[in-house]
Amino acid sequence: MEKKEIKFSNEALGLVQKMKSRYPEGKQKSALLPILHLAQAEFDGWLSPEVMDYVAQLLGIQSIEVFEVASFYSMYNLKPVGKCLLEVCRTSSCWLRGANEIVAHLENKLGIKEGETTPDGLFTLKTVECLGSCGTAPMLMCGAQFHENLTTSKVDDMLAKLKAENTRKTYLDKVEVNQY
């Protein structure tokens, strides 16, 4: 893999400035979590040590301060992930409505186990804890998009659509607002 220079686009740098301006003078470390989301979206969906060093520079803090935060929260990936990270909720309400069947179906269709990435780098399958979508269980999240009231055929349609699009999904994506 060729080494890319770690630098935000001008647009992203503008967002960083905007994020930092939300907090009182001297409290810019508050922007760390939002900037890490931005960094993950900009740099292939994960936070490499080099990306974390870069974020530390932007905020004028130590790299270890970035790492201790990045390693605490579950949405920051410290290893590469596929373009589409499928995060399947498995806590109570989703389990009651068939989350295990959805995970099994995904494993079967993708030919990978939970925690693994497909050889083409398109899908990573992950199980996660409650995503606050219990009334529309079972569900999964891919990027910012909630896929709700899942059935195996809905999962098949979703996978086909994601394959056709073949683009990286991020939490920052603009998504259609879910219907209730």
Partner: protein, 436 residues
Amino acid sequence: MGKKLLLANDHIPGIQSYDVYRSNGGYLSVEKALKTLKPEDIVEEVKKSGLRGRGGAGFPTGMKWSFLAKPEGVPRYLVCNADESEPGTFKDRYLMSRIPHLLVEGMITSSYALGANTSYIYIRGEYYYVAQILEKAIAEAYQNGWLGQNILGTGYNLDLHVQVGGGAYICGEETALLESLEGKRGNPRIKPPFPAIAGLYGCPTVVNNVETIAAVVPIVNDGGDSYAAIGIGKSTGTKLISASGHIKKPGVYEIEMGITVEEFIYSEAYCGGILNNKKLKAVVAGGSSVPILPADKILTTPAGEKRLMSYESLSEGGFASGTMLGSGGFIVMDEDTSIVENLYTFTRFYHHESCGQCSPCREGTAWMEKLLHKILDGHGTLADVDLLWEIQSKIEGNTICPLGDAAAWPVASAIRHFRSEFESFVSNGNAKHPIN
């Protein structure tokens, strides 16, 4: 259907937009507050309303507000807790994505009451798309003069920002939330000092749940007495209930406090009965942390009366036979549900979400998950069930924040009310639902 205060307009097309929201009575509470009321008048109305924190703890909001320290020359902050992460709870997501301006309006009116000039909405990272909806609403509020400098020409200034979290249940605990808002790991702080004295950046801070802030809007519009007239006893007003699990109509329902649990589960106006017309087995009435109750105990109080959807009625009988209203995350289980396997999903959750600061929680949640896994896998013994009980009792009350209690209570109540199910896994020596 009862009276609706928060979701009365949620099905009006376009209610997400400023114009439609405004033309349906939006932002009247800000006009009334800034032009005709002193901040202390609003605190008084909130006290009169009897409003209690809607995030789960049920602490009186007016009292929480009156504890806020007001030293000269020190900024005060209002922080909205939108880190909705309690399993079974999704009401705040619904409210914020359907009627984002209601939260923005509540934040302005409440910030004015507390004397805050900068306020934050801390929202869980998984709700990123909802954060974008809120940011759009906030931008519209700025454009229309409800935020910024000299609001409505009254000299009051307010900036409102959305902060997105990184995925951590613990950040729903208010001091962990403040740590996270300061750009750190979400480790809860030792209290005292309480946030009302030393909160965000060491300044006096009030942290309130989304639904609590939204309820300030009708309280200011119609008066605290009018709000207190709805509901029953000390459970005033309406409550958003997130209904999920084995019911015909999952979703968010705004109820008048005091309707019966039976009506809530079986009426067409709410859950519509049990899925596939099966029998009710158990309910977790207030989010994963509150004790699970079997059907007879959730429907009837120990005194033999119908149990009501209220703080008091749900907790009648203490933990021996009662539970809590909590966050209003109402999870329904039918007759075929394995209580032990459901508990495993809860315990795995708490193990995953323990911040690791306190040994009883960090180690205890891990042990409980392992023991439940062993029992479900068919390798458990009767001694393991006793050990599970022992561990949960050692976590409860021995941690800095309530996550420890929250992890212990589901285990204790499942064993208390459904011990025979644990024993059948143990004595049969084989698992009904093998864990993968």
